[in-house]
Symmetry: C2
Subunit: 331 residues, 2 copies
DNA sequence: GAGAACAAGTAAATCGATTTACCGCGAGGT
DNA sequence: ACCTCGCGGTAAATCGATTTACTTGTTCTC
């Protein structure tokens, strides 16, 4: 910057104030053009690190994901990336499991002013004290796809409505014994879905079907379905809270000699690009994942502007039923 | 830091040198313990931004991906993340398309000392001049899953061997008319695969089958297969360079009245977690994607230590054929 | 007893911007 | 002739660490 200032015959202060668009700067038109020309000619780009030090704001938002390979998460990431970029912020990726372990690298990121705020996708292993630890670093924090009561922000999807829509679909097809493969750990989210499922059943005057944890991998989904079928052979349809579990469940159903959807209808929460290429193509309830990423970043940005953390639930766009081939009327 | 220094009754220099493990620092044992205790009590973590400014090294590596949702890329990302974290570096995510557009946010990242080096996954839209532009910023650069001649580093997979293995598998099954759905844009990678495919055919004394671009989405893969079948109805097997295209091709084959693998065998390059859940389960050649991410970060780190950029190809672990259900002998 | 050698630190410049308080100059008013 | 005011800037402190050259007191050596 001082090189530019010298070459343009002004003080560094002018260069800084001009380039930052300082409103209080009075400057002659010719000086303005000269400085701009010199900056351009010298190919000057301000050092962001120095800026960050002085302004105590780095322009980077941390994103802690605990399973990068899950396609659901990469869609959230995409939305977050777009929103951050639109506001001149960049995303720093971090492994949520390292965070939970209290890893050194992570401590440095969280407490070392490397990021202005953190987006956290809490996995099964990320406990409350990790959240408390981050909050104690006075770092703006938003829990993504999660609900909490505490002093931290959160943005959640309308899990209850989604489960309701899925269950309603099965009821409409004529099913009356409808099971549920729940999520594993994140309690609030899981409970919201159970509520939605149960509410739909109640509204239709149907008894609760069996409900057990379906984990969050294809493998876990498969074993969970096997267990469910063993205990409740009368089930004709299930709602699966996790797409990957649903895929595993579908494979397991076939292995158990059931044909989907003839003998068992399956509807999953969350759409993923390969759902339509499965056999049968998977019926799902699509939730606005990209929007979730977007709104999470927006929430962090609001906190950076001094707003109090809020708890929001995305109800628009509403959960959308995508009917494919894995659901049908009961035999 | 000065708070700690004051509370411990020493100068900031001691705190800095002690915490950084400066070998030239002579210090009494009791002083050492006192400073450490005070730092711990005050919950002191050094400001990474200030460090970065002084040392002209930020501890962050940029990763520009042009399609976050592709599961192939998220596996690379995972490997990169692990390696970076193991060396105390963090990953900054960026959209390669924004980079190609010359976006402001990106300029600030690349030229503003926000990152120590950049990992670039060149997509179809990322032209050579983008690479030149980054190189001109004197930023260590490594092209991931790509080959180049230039002054920048690169880490590639053994695409030729992979295509060879895939083709060899089809030949072993008895096929003699074997097509190829190529990759779209990244030329070097695409050509390596064509070479591998052709070499396997030649070695078996079989004529080249038809070869055309299969794009990199399910949609493109589908239309490409339709076109290929229309022109060459005698094809009994194909190698598909992109998994997503392969999925689309499988759907398209069925739509054309062909049964996979009875009428058409399909083998794809790259394994993805859902390949085994497709119907039929997709036969693939698995390449070490996580290792690719790892080695790419390692290559950047070497450049940071002053090493010259290199061009490397990962041959270990070797491409591995994973036989599932989409390949069979010709009818 | 003088000087060397060493232990245990310290002072101060530096990294590159940002920002606040201030300053000199010419024009206009009286 | 003196004062004021607005224009067009500038000087200098600051953000929080790092690092090199230097200092001070003590012990050892001959």
């Amino acid at each position: 910057m001082s090189d530019v200032a010298r070459a343009a015959g002004v003080s560094p202060a002018v260069v800084s104030r001009l380039l930052r668009g300082d409103e209080t700067l009075r400057i002659r038109e010719d000086t303005r053009l000269r400085v701009l020309a010199v900056a351009d000619e010298l190919n000057y780009t301000p050092n962001e690190v120095a800026r960050a030090l002085r302004k105590a704001e780095v322009g980077i938002i941390g994103m802690a994901v605990h399973d990068t390979s899950n396609p659901v998460y990469s869609e959230i990431l995409d939305g977050a990336q777009a929103e951050a970029s639109a506001h001149g912020f960049a995303l720093l990726l971090a492994d949520a499991d390292e965070l939970a372990r209290g890893d050194r690298t992570f401590e440095r990121i969280v407490r070392g002013n490397r990021i202005d705020g953190l987006l956290l996708q809490r996995g099964s292993s990320t406990a409350d004290d990790t959240v408390a630890n981050i909050a104690s670093a006075r770092l703006p924090l938003v829990l993504v796809n999660d609900r909490t009561r505490g002093e931290v922000g959160s943005v959640a999807l309308d899990d209850e409505a989604a489960a309701h829509v899925a269950t309603r679909h099965l009821l409409d097809l004529g099913h009356t014994v409808i099971g549920h493969l729940k999520l594993g750990a994140p309690k609030a989210r899981s409970e919201a879905r159970v509520r939605g499922w149960r509410a739909a059943l109640r509204a239709a005057g149907v008894h609760d079907g069996p409900s057990l944890s379906g984990g969050h991998t294809t493998g876990e989904g498969g074993t969970a379905l096997a267990k469910l079928l063993a205990a409740h052979p009368d089930v004709t349809a299930i709602v699966v809270s996790n797409v990957l579990s649903a895929v595993g469940a579908m494979t397991a159903a076939r292995a158990a000699g059931l044909e989907v959807p003839r003998d068992l209808s399956i509807v999953a929460l969350h759409d993923v690009f390969f759902a339509e290429h499965l056999t049968p193509a998977l019926t799902v309830v699509r939730l606005p994942l990209r929007e979730l990423g977007r709104r999470s970043v927006a929430a962090i940005l609001r906190q950076l502007d001094g707003a109090q953390p809020r708890h929001e639930v995305i109800r628009e766009p509403a959960p959308e039923l995508v009917i494919r081939a894995s659901t049908a009327p009961p035999r």
